[in-house]
Subunit: 672 residues, 2 copies
DNA sequence: AGCATAAATAATAA
DNA sequence: TTATTATTTATGCT
């Protein structure tokens, strides 16, 4: 009678190159943090268990977060991003956050940061973009924050100018920005920082985008709060997440002010996988020459929808002069993209089967083509920071103009954080800082894009050139050094991935759906950018992103070239800027309706929640019991019979099935 | 780059008396094991973290697996399940696994266990069902395995007969079954263990059902692989999962052999939510008197679909004599349900908001009406074990006949594990064994059901009576002690929930959809059990299960009475047995098409959407990367490897290519 | 204040 | 292209 069954529980960890590492997760997780320097080469940095004990992979040695920071800093330095070698002291590496609210996420944080609170905090602090090094410093600060118990505070050291690479690191190390540099005087912009947009960006990530008027212009700051245990269905696991913190600083007024620096910050929690990255899109080339940095959005026109903007063409394009100042500063900024420090965070593979692990990849001033990740084929150099000037001249008009100068990696352009998978296959790509004339090919084509000039205006920040700066590898018109780069694909993939990610974050931060974006774009960009096309393009990008190095071949085979994907990027990028700008404008005018600026009517509202009568429910349930998957006819019949819309009935069944499924799942889990 | 996939392989051993043990699996999980004696009282047994350190809940003390075993053994003993007190020595408690392949999953395991491999392994080992205590021993062994570093090997100590409570524990503790007891001689059943069915059961759960011929009969073992990080969208989180392992033992040949024991074991991981449940439907009353226990499925007819079976009526009903032996044995089996030890496993609340905690509730020979869970209203006693004889006489013909004898709780009848929520509201129902005349009302109507006798044949196991035994509370004909039971609802809910869960697991393990079941049932059971009706019944049960005590009111309001659900249970149970039997038969005949035995035409509706496991997707994507156009052979291989239908795999590639193509197209559109 | 679930969104199997 | 699923959001009610 005896039955013996043996239950085995196993945890399999799949390493992305099909290397599988088995981890044991104690309580919850184990997490393995890897920093990826330039190339796909990954540097395992951290491997901790819940107890907080961390050890580098394959090594008994334990590393603390600070160690990690040092390591990072070292990497940066070696990459030429830092002026001087990082000090080995933990705090040293960390610089005060510049122009960024420092998120302070408490490990034991009970909930998400309330966005309202964020806003309130935001009003208190202001960020000014000092200059060159601030970006790096911010980065450093971010890194240093790793040491902190994962606290994210929204106060923040605004005084970026004060931040020198070596300065104020200690403060940051503490993790709370509030104690950071003295808040810079709030210059021209008397507007308090406002929440441009807020809401859930992804899975469990709450995001808020703040507009921070500064003497330099308007800075946009994105704050993402990432619940540690987000997405985990089971209770006990500690989860990790990555949060991307996007910092966008736009110069609105100060033509004189130092250019806003870009900050990229990645915070990774040990016990909990978390990533915070901030990117600041400023300073990069404006796609269209006529783009100006709108002072504070001049036009208070309430609902400036992208479409409207498109039609209204250049209404906002004034202050072209400001752009100059902006550009100049980038040059000064020391943290060149030279060593595009790709901090890869190796996550545990999610359930998603895609074998590649995603590593947060914060392209900062990753201007230098030598960026490890970037398959820089050509000999072209692109000084990311300095690019601004160069890129400035890119004519937005020349669509496929081979203008390569001041090319930035996608990320920098977006000013968004993106997570890149480490691409297993493509080996090379070390931290060839600066001068690397690696892959000229696809990487550096600067397709100004078909930027409907109309859509260009309003871009408030110096970020304008960003679109132009992109190294879009256009298959056609292989401008510079493009022939020999076969690494390009890999690079493209990275870029695409990053872009897609960044775009998504930005889109979400505006509270827009893919559909909305598509619709708006179709209006703005014309038929070629029909909604579906855009959406699909986005999807494609996402999709493409999935394939990292390893799959490039297939990619080509299927004719799904990253190149084409790359082409659409500028358009999307441009639109996004406009949308964000518009958003800001509306804010100013007091009209803060997120959906207003979309070319879509607000009509879109959510349908009123239907409430079914008990009788209806009875019938529906009876039907459901008989058949959980009623045919269309059945549904129609029911709808008619009950007097509800067919769709309502259909959805009812969908939800009912879902509920059932959930129930079952729980039960099984529960099992008792 | 890191991929982490966690696969949990669990083998559940169902102790036939509904003993559930929650284990902590070191490596990865934390388990909390609770033994629940009769009533819902739960006894926390284990709580370990990956380090292998275990401590009883609320206690700093660490327990080793062996401790757990001891504890368990002690519990069992106290419950009267063991003949002698368990020794305190760690190894002692563990007995060699009986009749079960012991899965050995290495923590560093690279991928999921290949089902093929499992099958191969299965062929190596054989399980023989010794006698009474073997079940317990097996359990103990299983528990002991907890100590192992989470290795799951599919080799396994088969020599169950040799297993005495105190013997061979050490070997098991090692975690590898291969070194376990000497493989018992493979008696009559010369068939190697085979995979009855395999595939994705749910979300990311892969399941394989093995048939293990033993001298006692055929044992079915279900192995579920649960990716740790399943369902997690972010990479890094380690996830939890629950695995349910169903063990069904059917006596095929040995009329003389001791009756198969049912083992119910629940493994629950703390850190990772895992559930393993096994249910064994054997030994219970046959609904229709003419049912016999088919020897080894006599009819090798390839596709013995339920429908066919229905039409063919009693083709397989031979060996009626065997049933006798089966029944007799239950009596002899020491582990009577007396102390229907409910091992409740308390899991961490999952993210799902449902506030009720689910406690694993494994009804084993919960024959005694006194079972805490059961709201035994009437004074009727039902000796679950002994019931067989009694129930045997139930006439399947009398649908609503008030025949109460040998009533079993649903679970026991099913021999399935089900998860019950603890119902807050209904207080009473202590382990008022036997005599409690609590809620006579709805609880005890024994609607024999309209069991179309035709459908009865083929039920291989002695389980036949199970259907009859059910205490279906039919609103009409309140037979015995039924008036005063208001607790009934709570009880019913428990049962319903349990049943629904068990049924679903079994259904899924056969790869059947509700629709399929419904269709098959409509054929088998007649119009009253039309497809839709069945499905709805299932759904209703599921649905009903959702509501635990708190929501009963609503339940009633919606007219989703547990009672009605209860009525259909026996039918479903019976059908499931047949289906499983049929499955086996087909297997024997070499026709292993999962869908074959369903009485449903394939012509029907769109196939249910498959959901691939992350692991499967990983593999598929890897293949896709290499080759977007795999040959038929490749596809077949993949399908086999992954346990999906070939067509599903083929379609996956089609869709994948399509997606790629779309992506490309859009991108190109985009720009140019 | 929370819960149950209708509605909406995104992904993807068929 | 369609239909379903999987998730998420947020409404309406207690």
């Amino acid at each position: 009678m005896a039955w013996v069954s043996v239950c085995l529980f196993t945890t399999l960890f799949f390493l992305h190159a099909f290397l599988t590492a088995a981890l044991h997760m104690s309580h919850i997780l184990h997490f393995r943090l890897k920093l990826q320097a330039h190339s796909r080469k990954t540097i395992p940095v951290y491997d901790c268990d819940r107890d907080g004990e961390c050890s580098p992979p394959g090594s008994p040695q334990h590393m603390t977060a600070s160690h990690l920071n040092d390591r990072l800093a070292g990497g940066l330095f070696s990459a030429g991003l830092l002026d001087r070698p990082p000090s080995s002291e933990h705090a040293k590496a960390a610089a005060a956050a510049a122009a960024v609210a420092q998120a302070h996420l408490n490990g034991t944080m009970q909930g998400m940061l309330n966005l309202q609170k964020l806003q309130n905090l935001a009003t208190i602090q202001h960020a000014s973009m000092p200059s060159s090094l601030s970006g790096l410093q911010g980065l450093a600060a971010g890194l240093s924050s790793l040491n902190s118990p994962l606290n994210l505070s929204v106060g923040a050291g605004a005084g970026n100018a004060a931040m020198t690479p070596g300065g104020g690191s200690a403060a940051n190390a503490g993790g709370s920005a509030s104690d950071g540099g003295a808040p810079p005087p709030i210059p021209s912009a008397q507007l308090p920082q406002l929440i441009l947009a807020s809401g859930q960006l992804m899975q469990g990530i709450q995001g808020a985008q703040l507009l921070i008027p500064t003497s330099q212009g308007i800075a946009t700051q994105t704050i993402l709060t990432i619940p540690v245990s987000q997405q985990v269905h089971s209770n006990e696991q500690l989860v990790q997440h990555l949060a991307a913190l996007t910092n966008g600083t736009s110069n609105l007024n100060g033509p004189v002010a130092p250019p806003p620096a870009m900050l990229n910050r990645h915070l990774l929690s040990n016990g909990v996988q978390q990533l915070l990255s901030a990117v600041q899109p400023n300073m990069f080339g404006a796609t269209s020459p006529h783009q100006s940095m709108p002072h504070a959005p001049v036009t208070p026109s309430a609902s400036v929808s992208p479409r409207r903007m498109a039609s209204a063409s250049p209404p906002h394009s004034h202050h072209a002069a400001t752009s100059r100042s902006l550009h100049s500063s980038p040059k000064a900024s020391p943290p060149r993209a030279t060593a595009s420090s790709h901090h890869q965070y190796e996550k545990m593979p999610t359930t998603t089967a895609t074998a590649t692990s995603q590593s947060p990849h914060s392209p900062l001033y990753s201007a230098s083509p030598s960026n490890g990740h970037v398959g820089s084929c050509g000999s072209q150099q692109m000084a990311s920071v300095s690019q601004n000037q160069t890129s400035m001249h890119h004519s937005s008009t020349s669509r496929h103009s081979p203008i390569p100068p001041a090319m930035n990696r996608l990320s920098s352009q977006n000013g968004e954080i993106t997570i890149t998978k480490s691409h297993g296959p493509s080996p090379s790509h070390s931290s060839s800082t600066g001068s690397g004339s690696n892959h000229p090919s696809s990487q550096h084509n600067v397709p100004p894009m078909k930027l409907s000039p109309s859509s260009m205006h309003l871009s408030p920040t110096g970020t304008d050139n960003s679109t132009t700066d992109f190294l879009a590898d256009s298959p056609n018109e292989p401008t510079i050094n493009q022939a020999t780069c076969n690494v390009v694909d890999g690079i493209d993939l990275d870029e695409i991935k990053e872009f897609a990610k960044a775009f998504k974050l930005r889109r979400l931060s505006l509270g827009l759906t893919q559909t909305q974006v598509g619709q708006a774009l179709s209006v703005t960009e014309g038929p070629a950018y029909s909604q579906s096309a855009i959406c699909s393009a986005l999807a494609a990008q996402m999709y493409a992103a999935q394939f990292s190095t390893q799959q490039q071949a297939m990619f080509e085979k299927l004719d799904i070239t990253p190149k084409s994907a790359q082409k659409i990027k500028p358009v999307l990028e441009r639109w996004m800027k406009e949308a964000e700008e518009s958003h800001w404008n509306r804010y100013k005018s007091g009209q803060n309706h997120l959906t207003d600026f979309i070319g879509v009517e607000p009509s879109k509202k959510r349908k009123r929640r239907t409430s079914f009568t008990p009788q209806a429910l009875e019938l529906l349930n009876a039907h459901f019991e008989r058949n959980t998957h009623p045919s269309g006819t059945e549904i129609t019949g029911l709808a008619h019979q009950l007097g509800y819309e067919r769709e309502v009935i259909r959805i009812w069944f969908c939800n009912k099935r879902q509920a059932l499924k959930n129930t079952v799942r729980m039960m099984s889990k529960g099992i008792v």
